[in-house]
Subunit: 401 residues, 2 copies
């Protein structure tokens, strides 16, 4: 990309000064690079005099997770920025505000959310977020409805599909979520203690068939503009605020993939309570909080989505008697399948989760891994028969009893 | 579009002369505009001295069917030309050769097929084409397999989806096939004699639900690069040759939509034998020829598609046990549904078919319309239960007994 260069902290400050109406002309600015360094540089720039601060997020032209040998398109910065802007129009309180986007530098300037914490960490610390279910249900309902053929002009939607063709980042998902975990791939990180359970996954043909069908939907079902990577590490949270970040995997795919990402990561934390909870009572109580959150997310999502459909549906045919019920059941079934797929890959795939991997007690960690695998595979195998969110919760509860 | 102007016959000749290595330098060229004038100009240019001839097809910036008031993108000429080139690489004998494409003029120069006839006319004349089933099965298997995630690199496929985003022409299908026929729309042309049957279609909620689901697939299921308008008027034929033309509706959609278009138009002719056949015996015999052709098309298509999959599949996951059987059944079910949808719209929708409309005996025409409507609606309502192509033939046979 002509003009692209990775910014230094000094250059990040210089760029921040050039944004109109943000910082005072000659005030001191402080910059820290705070990215986890996987795919992006993340500069936190603050003005001590005013207390103002912003984030500059710059895409790197490679994925550091496997060294510089895995080149990655800088176009994902455009996709992230455009997705954030669309999401911001639909639910301004639920995503960071975008101040500027600089295509040549693959750079997005956005609201600083340092007063929030990453939700994964919040859950690992045992916090509860009573408003989260409502917030994320609204994010899902608004973004999935209004970017689908149900909620937007169907010809403009096709042009939007074109803008969000995202081959390289989809490829990561296709391989790491829907392929590697089901075969003895060198990309897996198999925990030795559960090798027997992982080998059972590699041999389970009924499971593989469902995964192949789910992968086919991920490849072909251009239903809504997805966030594409909606785990609890992509959510900033505090008691009264939820902000969804990092939509660089955005593309048109099946709604259940985003919903499933949220539920899967709540269930991974559910499994990890083998180690985090101090005793059986607190474990039971926190798990009940998590399953109630899951119930609330689906229930509120479904109610809001149906209400948007009834009040703002753009399509005569979509009002056909019985169609909405059929459609919501398909979304629920996809949600079961993708929830399961998102769990299994986090147990023995390339990228795992801190909820489980940070457990220090090896026996607890092993139990958590086995629980996560049991829930994940059960959800995948059951997905095409699912009828109610209660069945998902039953499958989770059964795995810990 | 800068530089665009509709060509006169003299300008068409001038352009033809500029194509290298085609005609002799100063020889006489003869030009006739032979289009039906709906959407395009079609110039036939021949060189009497050599017997050589070519076709220049130029897109018009509007659809004449409703006057100049329905503007249409000239980008469809690019889509048609690029689709022809892809199809020509996969099955060179089954599409016209493309000599040149002139983007500024929305002009494609291609092989002259004047020695063939339009298949719809061939069928109306009572001709039989024993090689057709094999030819079209190969066209369907090759084009649908090699443009899908099964047969091509899945990241290149996404870029190809982008190139074939085709909102305006898809909109025509979405309205005229999946919407208008199921409601009292001013776009319909309801034959007064069958108004009772058409009103029953407008009231049939079970039918509407299936149509809504099929329309949803047309809108979202980016499975293969479709021809998009594969009726018997888009097929040039003679005893030993089949050529598929006019892929300006090409886009990424469900495979069953192309297969269904072929079967639907054979079944519309099947219905129209009420009037074309001289007597009951010849009617029975020609219908048996048509249903045998349908059986052969599906059987050969399925065999060739499975064989391509087994030998040239690019995707580890697609080799999962049971997946191919599941997938082929889904394609069959979609084929039932889209066959039905393509039939119903031809009975009382905006654009109908000569097979039925050219019947002079009003009683025969009415019987043909009722048969076509009965087959079409039955196929739509049965589509999600279909298991075998024999069931489609049974539904057709039942409608004439």
């Amino acid at each position: 990309m002509p003009g692209y260069h990775a910014l230094s902290e000094a250059q990040a400050i210089e760029y921040a000064r050039s944004i109109p109406d943000l910082f005072s002309k000659n005030s001191e600015l402080v910059c820290r690079e705070i990215g986890d360094g996987n795919l992006n540089l993340v500069f936190h720039i603050s003005e001590p005099a005013s207390g103002k601060s912003i984030i500059l997020k710059q895409a790197l032209p490679y994925a550091k997770v496997v060294g510089e040998s895995w080149p990655l398109t800088l176009d994902r910065a455009r996709i992230e920025s455009e997705a954030l802007i669309i999401q911001g129009k639909l639910c301004p309180d639920l995503v960071p505000h975008v101040y500027a986007y600089e295509p040549d530098l693959a750079l997005t300037v956005m609201q600083d959310l340092s007063d929030h914490v990453i939700m994964r960490k919040g859950l690992m610390d045992g916090n509860r977020y009573p408003l989260f279910a409502g917030h994320i249900a609204t994010f899902l309902a608004q973004t999935l409805f209004y970017t689908s053929d149900l909620g937007m002009n169907q010809q403009q939607k096709k042009e939007q599909v074109k803008r969000f063709i995202n081959p390289e980042l989809c490829k990561i998902t296709e391989d790491l979520i829907f392929d590697d975990p089901y075969t003895d791939s060198p990309n897996n990180n198999v925990p030795p203690a559960i090798r027997d359970a992982v080998e059972a996954v590699w041999k389970d043909q009924a499971l593989h068939l469902e995964v192949a069908i789910l992968r086919g939907k991920f490849l072909t079902h251009a239903q809504s503009l997805l966030h594409g990577d909606l785990h609890t590490g992509s959510i900033f949270i505090k008691a009264d605020s939820t902000k969804v970040i990092d939509p660089e995997f955005a593309y048109y795919g099946p709604m259940g993939f985003d919903i499933g990402a949220v539920l899967a990561n709540l269930l991974l934390n559910f499994a990890s309570q083998e180690g985090w909870s101090a005793d059986a009572d607190s474990r039971k109580s926190y798990r009940a909080y998590l399953t109630q959150t899951i119930r609330d997310i689906w229930t509120k999502f479904e109610a809001e989505f149906r209400s948007l459909w009834n009040e703002h549906g753009v399509d005569r045919v979509s009002k056909t008697a019985g169609y909405q019920d059929w459609y919501m059941k398909e979304v629920l079934r996809d949600t079961f399948g993708f929830t399961g797929s998102k769990m299994v890959r986090r147990v023995h795939g390339l990228a795992q989760v801190a909820d489980i991997n940070k457990l220090e007690d090896e026996a607890a960690k092993e139990r958590a891994q086995r629980i996560a695998l049991a829930i994940g595979t059960s959800l995948i195998k059951f997905n095409r028969q699912a009828d109610s969110i209660e069945q998902l919760i039953e499958i989770a509860d059964k795995a810990v009893h």
